[in-house]
Symmetry: C2
Subunit: 163 residues, 2 copies
């Protein structure tokens, strides 16, 4: 077609997910219907089904607050960069300072500000047993599937990092 007309309420999947991440990051979103409404406010039309699938793609977690509303959160940054194995190993070698584990958690330390880079690479690695990652400034927390075990993951990551 020679007619790339801009439809104001039609965005690509990726852009919509970025918007979702932004919305979730800037206010409490109690449920998926609320998210549908918020998207509509931004001019993006989507159904609950689509939002559900988006959230799955993004690895969203749902947090229940003891006395109040629940809320969604996005553990790791959705990046669409490609990272070949080599790059992953290099990222780890360069930026992973320390790997520690306890129970079903693994903590990775990086230089200040680098955590999200490493977390992003980790997310795209598809490592079995990694339920989710949360990146701070210089610390990454990894929630590990219990049938895999934090130690196992920690060992693999240490190896990747050359520690």
């Amino acid at each position: 077609m020679t007619d790339p007309v801009k439809e104001p309420s039609k965005l690509g999947k990726t852009q919509r997910q970025h918007l979702i991440a932004k919305l979730i990051g800037s206010q409490v979103v109690a449920n998926q219907l609320a998210l549908v409404d918020l998207l509509a406010t931004e001019g993006v039309i989507a159904t609950q089904a689509t939002v559900s699938r988006d959230l799955e793609d993004m690895g969203a977690i749902k947090v229940r607050m003891p006395g109040s509303e629940s809320a969604y959160a996005i553990p790791a940054l959705p990046k669409e960069q490609r990272a070949p194995e080599d790059h992953l190993r290099r990222v780890f070698g360069d930026w992973v300072v320390e790997v520690a584990h306890s129970d079903n958690l693994v903590i990775i330390r990086t230089p200040p500000g680098s955590a999200h880079v490493v977390a992003s690479a980790l997310d795209r690695s598809g490592l079995i047993g990694v339920l989710g990652t949360v990146a701070g400034d210089d610390t990454i927390l990894i929630v590990v599937a219990s049938d895999v075990g934090g130690e196992s993951i920690a060992t693999q990551l240490s190896d990747l990092a050359g520690l």
Copy 2:
């Protein structure tokens, strides 16, 4: 009553929640019905409704894995110790080394092995805006409600810690 008969399938709420935490911590629990079955295996009878309420009490989070089953996780240790404000302030003053924040996260650093103590105190503080905490060995990650903001929480915590 002078008849303290031991009912094998009747436990107190607290004990059941501890068992739930243990189960969730030792295997992947996809949903609440699965948890009901697991509890039954352990000789504890409870309905989905009760499990739902327990999970809320425990501040459980539900993690969705991109290509696989979802799983529950318990962010912080359920402790029933009491901690008066004074104690909270003392805990922070003694064990909080650093407070950092980024977006909707706050990271607290403690001496090695002390994270869970501080996290526990923090959980019992009932601080507004704290969605959940996750304690590693010497690092605590706090998920903050976005309408409160990581900076706000970080400031309060720094103050508590005397930093």
